[in-house]
Protein backbone atom coordinates (compact mmCIF):
# COMPACT_ATOMS: atom_id res chain seq x y z
CA UNK A 1 0.00 0.00 0.00
CA UNK A 2 1.27 3.49 -0.86
CA UNK A 3 0.26 6.72 0.85
CA UNK A 4 0.93 9.95 -1.03
CA UNK A 5 0.63 13.41 0.44
CA UNK A 6 0.68 16.17 -2.16
CA UNK A 7 1.23 19.84 -1.29
CA UNK A 8 -0.61 19.58 2.04
CA UNK A 9 -1.40 22.83 3.76
CA UNK A 10 -3.27 23.43 6.99
CA UNK A 11 -4.01 26.30 9.35
CA UNK A 12 -6.17 26.48 12.48
CA UNK A 13 -8.74 29.20 13.16
CA UNK A 14 -6.13 31.87 13.95
CA UNK A 15 -4.93 31.75 10.32
CA UNK A 16 -1.35 30.77 11.19
CA UNK A 17 -0.14 28.09 8.81
CA UNK A 18 0.77 24.91 10.68
CA UNK A 19 1.66 22.88 7.59
CA UNK A 20 2.92 24.28 4.28
CA UNK A 21 3.35 22.43 1.00
CA UNK A 22 4.00 19.04 2.64
CA UNK A 23 4.67 16.30 0.08
CA UNK A 24 5.85 12.76 0.83
CA UNK A 25 5.29 9.09 0.00
CA UNK A 26 4.94 6.28 2.53
CA UNK A 27 5.05 2.55 1.80
CA UNK A 28 3.70 -0.17 4.02
CA UNK A 29 7.11 -1.87 4.07
CA UNK A 30 8.76 1.20 5.60
CA UNK A 31 9.24 2.30 9.19
CA UNK A 32 9.12 6.07 9.10
CA UNK A 33 9.90 8.45 11.92
CA UNK A 34 8.50 11.94 12.10
CA UNK A 35 11.02 14.19 13.78
CA UNK A 36 10.62 17.84 14.59
CA UNK A 37 10.65 20.42 17.34
CA UNK A 38 7.59 21.15 19.50
CA UNK A 39 4.85 22.76 17.43
CA UNK A 40 6.40 21.68 14.12
CA UNK A 41 3.07 20.20 12.98
CA UNK A 42 3.66 16.48 13.64
CA UNK A 43 0.38 15.80 15.44
CA UNK A 44 -1.52 17.93 12.92
CA UNK A 45 -0.08 15.86 10.08
CA UNK A 46 -1.27 12.68 11.83
CA UNK A 47 -4.72 14.17 12.29
CA UNK A 48 -4.90 15.01 8.58
CA UNK A 49 -3.97 11.42 7.73
CA UNK A 50 -6.72 10.16 10.07
CA UNK A 51 -9.28 12.57 8.54
CA UNK A 52 -9.96 14.12 11.92
CA UNK A 53 -8.86 17.40 10.29
CA UNK A 54 -9.33 18.39 6.65
CA UNK A 55 -6.40 19.97 4.75
CA UNK A 56 -6.80 23.55 3.53
CA UNK A 57 -4.74 22.67 0.48
CA UNK A 58 -3.46 19.52 -1.13
CA UNK A 59 -4.58 15.94 -0.95
CA UNK A 60 -3.67 12.61 0.66
CA UNK A 61 -4.16 9.49 -1.44
CA UNK A 62 -4.18 5.80 -0.56
CA UNK A 63 -3.10 3.71 -3.56
CA UNK A 64 -4.13 6.63 -5.75
CA UNK A 65 -7.58 7.10 -4.15
CA UNK A 66 -8.21 10.39 -2.37
CA UNK A 67 -8.71 10.09 1.41
CA UNK A 68 -11.90 12.20 1.06
CA UNK A 69 -13.60 9.47 -0.92
CA UNK A 70 -12.70 6.69 1.51
CA UNK A 71 -15.40 5.92 4.09
CA UNK A 72 -14.36 5.85 7.76
CA UNK A 73 -15.10 2.14 7.95
CA UNK A 74 -12.67 1.48 5.06
CA UNK A 75 -10.12 3.95 6.40
CA UNK A 76 -9.91 1.68 9.48
CA UNK A 77 -8.24 -0.87 7.17
CA UNK A 78 -5.58 1.69 6.19
CA UNK A 79 -4.52 3.37 9.45
CA UNK A 80 -4.74 2.39 13.07
CA UNK A 81 -3.72 5.02 15.59
CA UNK A 82 -2.09 5.08 19.01
CA UNK A 83 -2.20 8.53 20.61
CA UNK A 84 0.47 9.94 22.89
CA UNK A 85 -1.78 9.43 25.88
CA UNK A 86 -4.67 7.05 25.53
CA UNK A 87 -6.37 7.66 28.83
CA UNK A 88 -9.89 6.34 29.18
CA UNK A 89 -11.97 7.80 31.98
CA UNK A 90 -13.63 4.48 32.73
CA UNK A 91 -11.57 1.48 33.71
CA UNK A 92 -11.85 -1.03 30.89
CA UNK A 93 -10.18 -4.42 30.98
CA UNK A 94 -7.35 -5.16 28.57
CA UNK A 95 -9.60 -7.56 26.62
CA UNK A 96 -12.42 -4.99 26.34
CA UNK A 97 -9.91 -2.35 25.17
CA UNK A 98 -8.50 -4.57 22.40
CA UNK A 99 -11.97 -5.66 21.27
CA UNK A 100 -12.94 -2.03 20.63
CA UNK A 101 -10.73 -2.16 17.53
CA UNK A 102 -12.99 -4.80 15.98
CA UNK A 103 -15.84 -2.27 15.62
CA UNK A 104 -15.26 -1.59 11.91
CA UNK A 105 -15.73 -5.30 11.17
CA UNK A 106 -18.98 -5.61 13.11
CA UNK A 107 -22.48 -4.58 12.11
CA UNK A 108 -24.21 -1.78 14.03
CA UNK A 109 -26.13 -4.00 16.45
CA UNK A 110 -23.55 -6.72 17.01
CA UNK A 111 -20.77 -7.00 19.56
CA UNK A 112 -17.51 -8.97 19.55
CA UNK A 113 -18.13 -12.70 19.75
CA UNK A 114 -16.06 -15.79 20.41
CA UNK A 115 -14.02 -15.35 17.21
CA UNK A 116 -12.98 -11.78 18.04
CA UNK A 117 -12.20 -12.70 21.64
CA UNK A 118 -9.97 -15.56 20.53
CA UNK A 119 -8.23 -13.23 18.09
CA UNK A 120 -7.62 -10.68 20.86
CA UNK A 121 -6.22 -13.37 23.17
CA UNK A 122 -3.92 -14.60 20.39
CA UNK A 123 -2.57 -11.04 19.98
CA UNK A 124 -1.90 -10.83 23.71
CA UNK A 125 -0.08 -14.16 23.48
CA UNK A 126 1.97 -12.81 20.56
CA UNK A 127 3.33 -10.09 22.86
CA UNK A 128 3.59 -12.46 25.85
CA UNK A 129 1.06 -10.47 27.87
CA UNK A 130 -1.87 -12.93 27.92
CA UNK A 131 -1.81 -12.79 31.74
CA UNK A 132 -2.99 -9.15 31.53
CA UNK A 133 -6.23 -10.11 29.76
CA UNK A 134 -8.63 -9.40 32.65
CA UNK A 135 -6.62 -6.59 34.28
CA UNK A 136 -7.89 -3.04 33.95
CA UNK A 137 -5.89 -0.59 31.84
CA UNK A 138 -5.29 1.78 34.76
CA UNK A 139 -3.47 -1.00 36.64
CA UNK A 140 -0.84 -1.54 33.94
CA UNK A 141 2.68 -0.16 33.76
CA UNK A 142 3.52 2.30 30.96
CA UNK A 143 5.25 -0.39 28.89
CA UNK A 144 2.42 -2.92 29.33
CA UNK A 145 -0.10 -0.25 28.38
CA UNK A 146 1.76 0.57 25.19
CA UNK A 147 1.96 -3.13 24.25
CA UNK A 148 -1.79 -3.49 24.79
CA UNK A 149 -2.42 -0.47 22.56
CA UNK A 150 -0.16 -1.98 19.88
CA UNK A 151 -2.16 -5.23 20.19
CA UNK A 152 -5.34 -3.16 19.80
CA UNK A 153 -3.89 -1.54 16.67
CA UNK A 154 -3.08 -5.04 15.33
CA UNK A 155 -6.66 -6.15 16.04
CA UNK A 156 -7.82 -3.52 13.57
CA UNK A 157 -5.80 -5.25 10.83
CA UNK A 158 -4.81 -1.95 9.23
CA UNK A 159 -1.90 -1.67 6.79
CA UNK A 160 -0.25 1.16 8.77
CA UNK A 161 0.08 1.92 12.47
CA UNK A 162 0.46 5.60 13.35
CA UNK A 163 1.95 6.29 16.79
CA UNK A 164 2.18 9.73 18.33
CA UNK A 165 5.30 9.74 20.53
CA UNK A 166 4.96 6.10 21.61
CA UNK A 167 8.05 6.19 23.83
CA UNK A 168 7.33 9.33 25.80
CA UNK A 169 6.67 8.65 29.51
CA UNK A 170 8.37 5.25 29.28
CA UNK A 171 11.57 4.18 30.99
CA UNK A 172 14.54 3.39 28.74
CA UNK A 173 13.98 -0.38 28.83
CA UNK A 174 10.33 -0.02 27.84
CA UNK A 175 11.23 2.49 25.10
CA UNK A 176 13.51 -0.10 23.51
CA UNK A 177 10.97 -2.89 24.03
CA UNK A 178 8.23 -0.88 22.27
CA UNK A 179 10.48 0.09 19.36
CA UNK A 180 11.78 -3.47 18.95
CA UNK A 181 8.15 -4.65 18.84
CA UNK A 182 7.36 -2.07 16.16
CA UNK A 183 10.46 -3.10 14.21
CA UNK A 184 9.28 -6.72 14.35
CA UNK A 185 5.79 -5.78 13.11
CA UNK A 186 7.34 -3.78 10.29
CA UNK A 187 9.38 -6.81 9.21
CA UNK A 188 6.07 -8.71 9.09
CA UNK A 189 4.73 -6.17 6.57
CA UNK A 190 2.94 -3.52 8.65
CA UNK A 191 3.85 0.07 7.84
CA UNK A 192 4.92 2.03 10.92
CA UNK A 193 4.87 5.82 11.24
CA UNK A 194 5.77 7.30 14.60
CA UNK A 195 6.87 10.61 16.00
CA UNK A 196 9.54 11.10 18.63
CA UNK A 197 11.73 13.77 20.20
CA UNK A 198 14.64 11.38 20.64
CA UNK A 199 17.00 11.56 17.59
CA UNK A 200 19.06 8.59 18.79
CA UNK A 201 16.04 6.29 18.83
CA UNK A 202 14.77 7.83 15.58
CA UNK A 203 18.03 7.05 13.79
CA UNK A 204 18.25 3.55 15.27
CA UNK A 205 14.67 2.43 14.65
CA UNK A 206 13.67 3.76 11.23
CA UNK A 207 14.10 3.04 7.56
CA UNK A 208 13.43 6.68 6.74
CA UNK A 209 13.14 9.92 8.70
CA UNK A 210 10.83 12.77 7.79
CA UNK A 211 11.82 16.04 9.42
CA UNK A 212 9.20 18.73 9.87
CA UNK A 213 10.48 22.21 10.57
CA UNK A 214 8.00 25.08 11.04
CA UNK A 215 5.33 23.19 9.13
CA UNK A 216 7.51 22.31 6.15
CA UNK A 217 9.46 19.19 5.27
CA UNK A 218 13.10 20.08 5.69
CA UNK A 219 14.35 16.57 4.96
CA UNK A 220 13.02 13.12 4.10
CA UNK A 221 15.78 10.56 3.85
CA UNK A 222 17.40 7.45 5.24
CA UNK A 223 19.18 7.74 8.63
CA UNK A 224 22.61 7.41 6.94
CA UNK A 225 22.02 10.29 4.55
CA UNK A 226 20.53 12.42 7.31
CA UNK A 227 23.64 11.98 9.43
CA UNK A 228 25.91 12.76 6.47
CA UNK A 229 24.06 15.97 5.64
CA UNK A 230 24.16 17.28 9.23
CA UNK A 231 20.39 17.96 9.15
CA UNK A 232 19.86 17.13 12.85
CA UNK A 233 22.45 19.68 13.90
CA UNK A 234 20.59 22.30 11.86
CA UNK A 235 17.18 21.23 13.21
CA UNK A 236 18.11 21.52 16.89
CA UNK A 237 20.71 24.29 16.45
CA UNK A 238 23.21 22.25 18.46
CA UNK A 239 26.60 20.76 17.79
CA UNK A 240 26.02 16.99 17.93
CA UNK A 241 28.35 14.02 17.66
CA UNK A 242 26.51 11.25 15.78
CA UNK A 243 27.99 7.87 15.00
CA UNK A 244 26.81 4.51 13.73
CA UNK A 245 27.50 1.51 15.97
CA UNK A 246 27.36 -2.14 14.88
CA UNK A 247 25.87 -4.16 17.71
CA UNK A 248 26.53 -7.50 16.03
CA UNK A 249 22.92 -7.94 14.90
CA UNK A 250 21.83 -4.40 14.07
CA UNK A 251 23.11 -0.96 13.22
CA UNK A 252 22.32 1.56 15.94
CA UNK A 253 23.27 5.20 16.43
CA UNK A 254 24.68 7.22 19.26
CA UNK A 255 23.93 10.91 19.41
CA UNK A 256 25.83 13.00 21.99
CA UNK A 257 26.05 16.77 22.39
CA UNK A 258 29.59 18.05 21.83
Amino acid sequence: MIINALSLGFSYGNGKEVLKDVTFTLRSESMTVLLGRNGAGKSTLFRLMLKSLMPKNGVITVDGISLDSIENRNLAKVFSYIPQSSYMEFSYTVLDTILMASSSRLSLFSSPGKKEKEEARALLALFNIESLCDRTMENLSGGERQLVLIARAMMQKASFIILDEPTSNLDYGNQLMVLETLERLNREGIGIIYSTHNPELALSYASSILILDKGMISSYDSPEKLVESGTLQKLYGKNLYIDKVFTGENERYVCIPK
Binding site: N72, N74, A76, F79, S80, P83, S91, Y92, M100, S111
Partner: protein
Amino acid sequence: MKKTDERKGKMLIFIVLFILSILISFQIGRYPVSPVELVRILISRIIPIEESWPSQAETVVFNIRLPRIALSSVIGASLALSGLLLQQVFRNPMASQDVLGSASASAFGASLALLMGANYMMVSLSSFLFGILSLLLIILISSRIRKKDSFTLVLCGIMVSSLFTSATSFVKLVADTNETLPAITYFLMGSLSSFRTSDLILVFTVTLVASIPMILISWRINLLSLSEEEAISMGVNMTRLRFVSITASTLLTASSVAAAGQIGWIGLVIPHFTRMICGSNTKITVPASMLLGASFLTLVDTLARSLTTSEIPIGILTSFVGAPFFLYLIRREANRT
Protein backbone atom coordinates in the same frame (compact mmCIF):
# COMPACT_ATOMS: atom_id res chain seq x y z
CA MET B 1 -14.51 -17.58 29.89
CA LYS B 2 -14.30 -17.09 33.66
CA LYS B 3 -14.89 -13.36 33.32
CA THR B 4 -17.95 -13.88 31.08
CA ASP B 5 -19.53 -16.25 33.63
CA GLU B 6 -18.79 -13.74 36.38
CA ARG B 7 -20.56 -11.01 34.41
CA LYS B 8 -23.58 -13.24 33.79
CA GLY B 9 -23.70 -14.00 37.53
CA LYS B 10 -23.69 -10.30 38.36
CA MET B 11 -26.50 -9.63 35.87
CA LEU B 12 -28.50 -12.36 37.58
CA ILE B 13 -27.99 -10.57 40.91
CA PHE B 14 -29.41 -7.37 39.39
CA ILE B 15 -32.44 -9.26 38.05
CA VAL B 16 -33.07 -10.90 41.44
CA LEU B 17 -32.69 -7.52 43.18
CA PHE B 18 -35.25 -5.98 40.81
CA ILE B 19 -37.77 -8.78 41.44
CA LEU B 20 -37.22 -8.48 45.20
CA SER B 21 -37.73 -4.71 45.17
CA ILE B 22 -41.01 -5.17 43.29
CA LEU B 23 -42.23 -7.80 45.75
CA ILE B 24 -41.26 -5.61 48.73
CA SER B 25 -42.99 -2.58 47.21
CA PHE B 26 -46.20 -4.56 46.61
CA GLN B 27 -46.40 -5.51 50.28
CA ILE B 28 -45.46 -2.30 52.10
CA GLY B 29 -47.80 0.66 52.46
CA ARG B 30 -50.71 2.01 54.43
CA TYR B 31 -52.59 -1.16 53.54
CA PRO B 32 -50.10 -3.99 54.15
CA VAL B 33 -50.39 -7.11 52.00
CA SER B 34 -48.82 -10.30 53.36
CA PRO B 35 -46.40 -12.25 51.09
CA VAL B 36 -48.78 -15.24 50.88
CA GLU B 37 -51.70 -12.96 50.03
CA LEU B 38 -49.62 -11.17 47.40
CA VAL B 39 -48.52 -14.39 45.70
CA ARG B 40 -52.08 -15.73 45.66
CA ILE B 41 -53.48 -12.43 44.29
CA LEU B 42 -50.85 -12.33 41.53
CA ILE B 43 -51.32 -16.01 40.63
CA SER B 44 -55.10 -15.57 40.55
CA ARG B 45 -54.73 -13.52 37.37
CA ILE B 46 -53.04 -16.44 35.62
CA ILE B 47 -54.64 -19.54 37.20
CA PRO B 48 -58.16 -19.35 38.68
CA ILE B 49 -57.81 -20.07 42.43
CA GLU B 50 -60.13 -19.75 45.40
CA GLU B 51 -60.37 -16.12 46.62
CA SER B 52 -59.16 -16.10 50.24
CA TRP B 53 -58.19 -12.42 50.50
CA PRO B 54 -60.21 -9.25 51.07
CA SER B 55 -61.29 -7.48 47.86
CA GLN B 56 -59.50 -4.29 49.05
CA ALA B 57 -56.20 -6.18 48.90
CA GLU B 58 -56.75 -6.96 45.21
CA THR B 59 -57.70 -3.34 44.51
CA VAL B 60 -54.57 -2.10 46.30
CA VAL B 61 -52.29 -4.54 44.44
CA PHE B 62 -53.63 -4.05 40.92
CA ASN B 63 -55.11 -0.54 40.88
CA ILE B 64 -52.78 1.35 43.19
CA ARG B 65 -49.45 -0.41 43.65
CA LEU B 66 -49.00 -2.08 40.25
CA PRO B 67 -49.18 1.16 38.19
CA ARG B 68 -47.02 2.94 40.74
CA ILE B 69 -44.37 0.20 40.73
CA ALA B 70 -44.45 0.17 36.94
CA LEU B 71 -43.94 3.95 36.86
CA SER B 72 -41.13 3.95 39.44
CA SER B 73 -39.37 1.10 37.60
CA VAL B 74 -39.61 2.80 34.22
CA ILE B 75 -38.51 6.19 35.54
CA GLY B 76 -35.67 4.68 37.60
CA ALA B 77 -34.43 2.74 34.58
CA SER B 78 -34.79 5.80 32.31
CA LEU B 79 -32.90 8.17 34.60
CA ALA B 80 -30.10 5.67 35.22
CA LEU B 81 -29.63 4.95 31.49
CA SER B 82 -29.85 8.65 30.68
CA GLY B 83 -27.08 9.42 33.20
CA LEU B 84 -24.89 6.58 31.94
CA LEU B 85 -25.20 7.84 28.36
CA LEU B 86 -24.22 11.38 29.40
CA GLN B 87 -21.17 10.05 31.26
CA GLN B 88 -20.08 8.14 28.17
CA VAL B 89 -20.73 11.05 25.75
CA PHE B 90 -18.88 13.58 27.90
CA ARG B 91 -16.20 10.99 28.85
CA ASN B 92 -16.71 12.19 32.38
CA PRO B 93 -17.81 10.18 35.43
CA MET B 94 -19.29 13.28 37.02
CA ALA B 95 -21.66 14.04 34.16
CA SER B 96 -25.36 13.53 34.83
CA GLN B 97 -28.62 15.33 34.23
CA ASP B 98 -28.32 17.14 37.57
CA VAL B 99 -24.66 18.13 37.25
CA LEU B 100 -24.92 19.30 33.63
CA GLY B 101 -28.08 21.28 34.34
CA SER B 102 -30.21 19.36 31.84
CA ALA B 103 -32.55 18.19 34.65
CA SER B 104 -33.08 21.85 35.68
CA ALA B 105 -33.65 22.78 32.05
CA SER B 106 -36.15 19.94 31.56
CA ALA B 107 -37.88 20.97 34.80
CA PHE B 108 -38.07 24.55 33.54
CA GLY B 109 -39.54 23.34 30.22
CA ALA B 110 -42.14 21.29 32.09
CA SER B 111 -42.97 24.17 34.50
CA LEU B 112 -43.39 26.56 31.59
CA ALA B 113 -45.77 24.12 29.89
CA LEU B 114 -47.68 23.64 33.16
CA LEU B 115 -47.98 27.41 33.50
CA MET B 116 -49.61 27.47 30.09
CA GLY B 117 -52.00 24.68 31.08
CA ALA B 118 -50.52 22.18 28.60
CA ASN B 119 -51.25 18.44 28.58
CA TYR B 120 -48.69 15.69 29.34
CA MET B 121 -47.58 15.45 25.70
CA MET B 122 -46.76 19.15 25.55
CA VAL B 123 -45.14 19.07 29.00
CA SER B 124 -42.88 16.23 27.74
CA LEU B 125 -42.09 18.03 24.49
CA SER B 126 -41.25 21.30 26.22
CA SER B 127 -39.18 19.38 28.79
CA PHE B 128 -37.30 17.59 25.97
CA LEU B 129 -36.62 20.77 23.98
CA PHE B 130 -35.19 22.63 26.96
CA GLY B 131 -33.19 19.55 27.98
CA ILE B 132 -31.60 19.41 24.52
CA LEU B 133 -31.02 23.17 24.61
CA SER B 134 -29.11 22.90 27.89
CA LEU B 135 -26.87 20.11 26.55
CA LEU B 136 -26.16 22.09 23.39
CA LEU B 137 -25.24 25.00 25.63
CA ILE B 138 -22.85 22.76 27.62
CA ILE B 139 -21.27 21.40 24.41
CA LEU B 140 -20.87 24.94 23.04
CA ILE B 141 -19.30 26.28 26.24
CA SER B 142 -16.97 23.31 26.78
CA SER B 143 -15.85 23.41 23.12
CA ARG B 144 -14.54 26.93 23.79
CA ILE B 145 -12.66 25.94 26.93
CA ARG B 146 -9.29 24.24 26.44
CA LYS B 147 -9.16 22.63 29.88
CA LYS B 148 -11.66 19.80 29.67
CA ASP B 149 -11.48 18.14 33.07
CA SER B 150 -14.29 17.02 35.37
CA PHE B 151 -14.35 20.25 37.34
CA THR B 152 -14.66 22.49 34.29
CA LEU B 153 -17.67 20.48 33.20
CA VAL B 154 -19.18 20.69 36.69
CA LEU B 155 -18.68 24.48 36.71
CA CYS B 156 -20.33 24.79 33.27
CA GLY B 157 -23.18 22.65 34.61
CA ILE B 158 -23.59 24.89 37.67
CA MET B 159 -23.87 27.89 35.38
CA VAL B 160 -26.47 26.26 33.10
CA SER B 161 -28.38 24.85 36.05
CA SER B 162 -28.46 28.22 37.78
CA LEU B 163 -29.73 29.86 34.58
CA PHE B 164 -32.67 27.46 34.28
CA THR B 165 -33.39 27.44 38.04
CA SER B 166 -33.74 31.23 37.87
CA ALA B 167 -36.01 30.88 34.85
CA THR B 168 -38.13 28.38 36.81
CA SER B 169 -38.30 30.83 39.72
CA PHE B 170 -39.60 33.42 37.29
CA VAL B 171 -42.27 30.99 36.08
CA LYS B 172 -43.29 30.43 39.73
CA LEU B 173 -43.34 34.19 40.29
CA VAL B 174 -45.87 34.78 37.54
CA ALA B 175 -47.91 31.60 38.21
CA ASP B 176 -51.37 31.75 39.75
CA THR B 177 -50.76 31.42 43.50
CA ASN B 178 -53.91 29.41 44.17
CA GLU B 179 -53.66 26.64 41.60
CA THR B 180 -50.66 26.66 39.23
CA LEU B 181 -47.96 27.65 41.74
CA PRO B 182 -48.66 24.81 44.22
CA ALA B 183 -48.89 22.37 41.30
CA ILE B 184 -45.52 23.51 39.88
CA THR B 185 -43.85 23.55 43.32
CA TYR B 186 -45.00 20.03 44.19
CA PHE B 187 -44.12 18.85 40.69
CA LEU B 188 -40.57 20.21 41.02
CA MET B 189 -40.02 18.25 44.23
CA GLY B 190 -40.63 15.06 42.27
CA SER B 191 -43.38 12.62 43.12
CA LEU B 192 -44.96 9.53 41.69
CA SER B 193 -48.25 10.04 43.53
CA SER B 194 -50.18 12.12 41.00
CA PHE B 195 -49.84 10.10 37.79
CA ARG B 196 -52.59 9.28 35.32
CA THR B 197 -52.90 6.15 33.19
CA SER B 198 -52.35 8.24 30.04
CA ASP B 199 -49.05 9.51 31.55
CA LEU B 200 -48.03 5.95 32.28
CA ILE B 201 -48.64 4.82 28.69
CA LEU B 202 -46.74 7.79 27.27
CA VAL B 203 -43.75 7.45 29.58
CA PHE B 204 -43.62 3.71 28.76
CA THR B 205 -43.74 4.42 25.03
CA VAL B 206 -41.03 7.11 25.15
CA THR B 207 -38.81 4.93 27.33
CA LEU B 208 -39.15 2.00 24.94
CA VAL B 209 -38.46 4.16 21.88
CA ALA B 210 -35.36 5.71 23.47
CA SER B 211 -33.94 2.73 25.33
CA ILE B 212 -34.38 -0.16 22.87
CA PRO B 213 -31.94 1.32 20.29
CA MET B 214 -29.49 2.01 23.14
CA ILE B 215 -29.74 -1.59 24.36
CA LEU B 216 -29.19 -2.79 20.78
CA ILE B 217 -26.06 -0.67 20.37
CA SER B 218 -24.97 -1.08 23.99
CA TRP B 219 -21.54 -2.47 23.08
CA ARG B 220 -20.90 0.40 20.64
CA ILE B 221 -21.53 2.95 23.44
CA ASN B 222 -18.11 1.87 24.80
CA LEU B 223 -16.51 3.56 21.79
CA LEU B 224 -17.58 6.97 23.11
CA SER B 225 -14.78 6.60 25.67
CA LEU B 226 -12.14 6.82 22.94
CA SER B 227 -10.50 10.04 21.81
CA GLU B 228 -11.76 11.58 18.57
CA GLU B 229 -8.73 10.38 16.56
CA GLU B 230 -8.74 6.86 17.99
CA ALA B 231 -12.45 6.48 17.24
CA ILE B 232 -12.14 7.82 13.68
CA SER B 233 -9.19 5.53 12.99
CA MET B 234 -11.40 2.60 14.09
CA GLY B 235 -14.05 3.65 11.59
CA VAL B 236 -16.48 4.97 14.21
CA ASN B 237 -18.82 7.80 13.25
CA MET B 238 -18.51 9.70 16.54
CA THR B 239 -20.82 12.56 15.54
CA ARG B 240 -23.66 10.15 14.80
CA LEU B 241 -23.03 8.05 17.92
CA ARG B 242 -22.94 11.13 20.16
CA PHE B 243 -26.08 12.58 18.54
CA VAL B 244 -28.05 9.35 18.99
CA SER B 245 -26.89 8.97 22.61
CA ILE B 246 -27.64 12.59 23.59
CA THR B 247 -31.08 12.46 21.95
CA ALA B 248 -31.96 9.20 23.71
CA SER B 249 -30.63 10.49 27.03
CA THR B 250 -32.61 13.74 26.81
CA LEU B 251 -35.80 11.93 25.74
CA LEU B 252 -35.49 9.60 28.75
CA THR B 253 -34.94 12.48 31.19
CA ALA B 254 -37.68 14.65 29.66
CA SER B 255 -40.36 11.96 29.75
CA SER B 256 -39.41 11.13 33.35
CA VAL B 257 -39.47 14.79 34.42
CA ALA B 258 -42.81 15.33 32.70
CA ALA B 259 -44.32 12.29 34.44
CA ALA B 260 -42.86 12.66 37.92
CA GLY B 261 -41.06 15.98 38.26
CA GLN B 262 -37.41 16.42 39.13
CA ILE B 263 -36.07 13.25 40.73
CA GLY B 264 -32.39 13.98 41.17
CA TRP B 265 -29.12 12.11 41.38
CA ILE B 266 -30.20 8.70 40.06
CA GLY B 267 -28.38 9.40 36.78
CA LEU B 268 -25.15 10.03 38.68
CA VAL B 269 -25.25 7.45 41.44
CA ILE B 270 -26.65 4.35 39.72
CA PRO B 271 -24.17 4.14 36.77
CA HIS B 272 -21.33 4.47 39.32
CA PHE B 273 -22.59 1.65 41.49
CA THR B 274 -23.12 -0.48 38.40
CA ARG B 275 -19.55 0.14 37.22
CA MET B 276 -18.21 -0.64 40.69
CA ILE B 277 -19.93 -4.02 40.56
CA CYS B 278 -19.59 -5.11 36.92
CA GLY B 279 -16.88 -3.00 35.32
CA SER B 280 -17.15 -0.43 32.55
CA ASN B 281 -18.24 -2.48 29.52
CA THR B 282 -21.48 -0.82 28.41
CA LYS B 283 -22.81 -4.08 27.00
CA ILE B 284 -23.27 -4.99 30.67
CA THR B 285 -23.66 -1.57 32.31
CA VAL B 286 -26.55 -0.46 30.05
CA PRO B 287 -28.98 -3.23 31.11
CA ALA B 288 -27.49 -3.45 34.62
CA SER B 289 -27.90 0.31 35.25
CA MET B 290 -31.49 0.12 34.05
CA LEU B 291 -32.26 -2.76 36.42
CA LEU B 292 -30.48 -1.13 39.37
CA GLY B 293 -32.15 2.25 38.66
CA ALA B 294 -35.56 0.57 38.53
CA SER B 295 -34.92 -1.33 41.79
CA PHE B 296 -33.56 1.75 43.56
CA LEU B 297 -36.44 4.07 42.64
CA THR B 298 -39.04 1.41 43.44
CA LEU B 299 -37.56 0.96 46.92
CA VAL B 300 -37.16 4.72 47.51
CA ASP B 301 -40.75 5.29 46.37
CA THR B 302 -41.91 2.61 48.81
CA LEU B 303 -40.12 4.55 51.57
CA ALA B 304 -41.56 7.87 50.31
CA ARG B 305 -45.14 6.62 50.61
CA SER B 306 -44.76 4.66 53.85
CA LEU B 307 -42.28 6.53 56.10
CA THR B 308 -44.71 9.21 57.27
CA THR B 309 -48.47 9.69 57.25
CA SER B 310 -48.28 12.21 54.40
CA GLU B 311 -46.23 11.21 51.37
CA ILE B 312 -42.67 12.60 51.13
CA PRO B 313 -41.77 13.92 47.64
CA ILE B 314 -39.39 11.29 46.24
CA GLY B 315 -36.90 13.91 44.96
CA ILE B 316 -36.11 14.82 48.57
CA LEU B 317 -35.18 11.23 49.40
CA THR B 318 -33.03 10.68 46.28
CA SER B 319 -31.14 13.89 47.11
CA PHE B 320 -30.28 12.49 50.54
CA VAL B 321 -28.46 9.68 48.75
CA GLY B 322 -27.15 11.62 45.76
CA ALA B 323 -25.67 14.71 47.37
CA PRO B 324 -23.25 12.86 49.73
CA PHE B 325 -22.30 10.55 46.86
CA PHE B 326 -21.50 13.56 44.68
CA LEU B 327 -19.22 14.89 47.43
CA TYR B 328 -17.48 11.50 47.52
CA LEU B 329 -16.93 11.69 43.75
CA ILE B 330 -15.54 15.23 43.97
CA ARG B 331 -13.10 14.05 46.65
CA ARG B 332 -12.06 11.04 44.55
CA GLU B 333 -11.55 13.15 41.41
CA ALA B 334 -9.60 15.80 43.32
CA ASN B 335 -7.27 13.17 44.78
CA ARG B 336 -6.74 11.61 41.38
CA THR B 337 -5.77 14.81 39.52
